[in-house]
């Protein structure tokens, strides 16, 4: 004989005794790997001992010229091209600051090092701010600007960019592409030439469809292999506007930056027990300047995000 129950316990009836667990896993904010600041010219070592303005003598604007000795024994003509005094100024000081009150700090579960987690986030935010400032130098590129608001980036434009650098006598071995992930995944990977076996190589070679990149086996530090022998990096810090991405092909001398911090680190993280506020104050800061060092050594590769390649 069955006993019929008409009023079993529900979860809400038992809410007072069902426990909840705060896991040790915390979903933290995600960031781009630093790619631009790791590639372009870093003048920070000159900033260690102070100064706000850094002079970089420019010998390329006015260069030496070749003369022909048309009459043997004649007096030679010497050249004296005027040097250009150029400067980079450290003019930006950015910071992220937060304070957590003593009461809250004591009561936060001991398994969470909240201060450390937010300090890490703040540090990464500032690293991205420097990346964005370097990527923002695109607006100073005039000599080699390719594509426009309606461009689906093509292989021809890639090669046109490479040609511009080589024609300017910049070493391709010291150059790199920086693409927005949209351009990389939605447009570059649709160029048939890049993934067909005839360009990938032997049938047992692993192409972009298998590896996701050009000749590299991994995604470490947003490195995506090589295109025409030139390293490819991706970062969403590439600037966009009117649905247009400002992808870059750079010789390492094209852009420069200098970071200046007491202690030498790029980003300084400081925390103190602020008695006046009864809390733990954490401040991360960075002082930097970015500049176009050699404008013709940069190529701007515009691409519209209105289009997908397929």
């Amino acid at each position: 004989m069955f006993v019929v129950t008409t009023d079993p316990f529900t979860a809400s009836d038992l809410a007072a005794v069902i426990s909840e667990t705060w896991t040790t896993i915390v979903n933290e904010k995600t960031f781009n790997d630093t790619v631009l600041a790791n590639f372009v010219t870093d003048l920070s070592s000159f900033a260690v001992e102070g100064s706000d303005i850094f002079h970089v003598p420019d010998l390329f604007t006015n260069a030496l010229t070749v003369s022909t000795q048309s009459t043997q024994g004649a007096e030679i003509t010497t050249a004296s091209p005027a040097e250009v005094d150029t400067t980079l100024t450290i003019n930006t000081h950015q910071y992220v600051a937060f304070i957590i009150g003593d009461k809250d700090l004591v009561q936060i579960a001991s398994k969470y090092d909240v201060n450390e987690m937010y300090a890490r986030e703040a540090r990464n935010l500032l690293a991205e701010a420097l990346e964005q400032a370097i990527a923002g130098l695109w607006s100073s590129i005039s000599t080699n600007a390719i594509g426009d608001t309606a461009t689906v980036l093509s292989d021809a434009e890639i090669r046109q960019g490479i040609y511009s650098l080589e024609n300017g006598k910049y070493r391709l071995s010291e150059s790199a592409f920086f693409f927005h992930p949209y351009t990389y995944w939605n447009q570059l990977h649709s160029v048939t030439k890049y993934y067909q076996q005839y360009s990938v190589g032997p049938a047992d070679s692993r192409g972009p469809v298998s590896t996701g990149n050009f000749g590299s086996e991994g995604y470490a530090l947003n490195y995506k292999g090589v295109l025409y022998g030139i390293p490819v990096y991706t970062t969403s810090n590439i600037v966009s506007g009117l649905q247009t991405y400002r992808n870059l092909l750079l010789h390492k001398s094209a852009f420069g930056f200098a970071v200046q911090n007491r202690g030498g680190a790029r980003i300084r993280v400081q925390a103190e027990n602020a008695i006046r506020n009864l809390g733990m104050l954490t401040v991360c800061d960075i002082k930097y300047g970015v500049a176009v060092l050699r404008e013709p050594a940069a190529v701007l590769l515009n691409s519209s995000n209105a289009f997908l390649g397929s």
Binding site: T89, S142, T151, N186, S190, T192, P202, V239, G241, F307
Partner: protein
């Protein structure tokens, strides 16, 4: 071991350099305020507010030449361009890639004409809150 290579199968002259089939990105983007500038060489550039603030304040340094003069032309809400892209999606299906691209380029020009003379400069983005909006550090209030 014999290595199989497909290089002879396809005539190199038939190798496509552009995507074989481009399609429109149907994801709907929101209009964004846009700021137009004219460079010394006459070319027009545009930027979103955060970056436009750097250009407007002439923060970009260019070594090797005199600091480039950049003229602020004006700003607009980006709606005209947004509509042009939406129209281009229809045109793409009817007339193809080139016609759609032409509509987008036309949209950029129309947006510039709307922006011309609307001298609303980018806000000061030196201090921003968690939502990327500028704040006044003296009052901690929105500007």
């Amino acid at each position: 071991m014999a290595v199989l290579c497909y290089s002879e199968i396809m005539n190199p002259s038939e190798i496509p350099e552009k995507p074989l089939y481009a399609s429109m990105n149907m994801k709907r983007e929101n209009p964004e305020r846009i700021y137009f500038f004219e460079k010394e060489n006459g070319s027009i550039i545009f930027a979103k507010e955060h970056e436009a603030h750097r250009i407007y304040r002439r923060r970009n340094q260019v070594i090797g030449q005199d600091k480039e003069k950049i003229k602020f032309l004006g700003s607009s809400d980006g709606v005209i361009f947004f509509k042009a892209v939406e129209e281009a999606k229809v045109i793409f299906n009817q007339k193809g890639l080139e016609a759609a691209q032409e509509r987008i380029r036309q949209g950029e020009k129309e947006e510039l004409e709307v922006a011309r003379g609307q001298m609303i400069p980018p806000r000061n983005m030196d201090a921003i809150d968690r939502g990327n909006n500028p704040i006044n550090l003296q009052t901690y209030g929105n500007i």
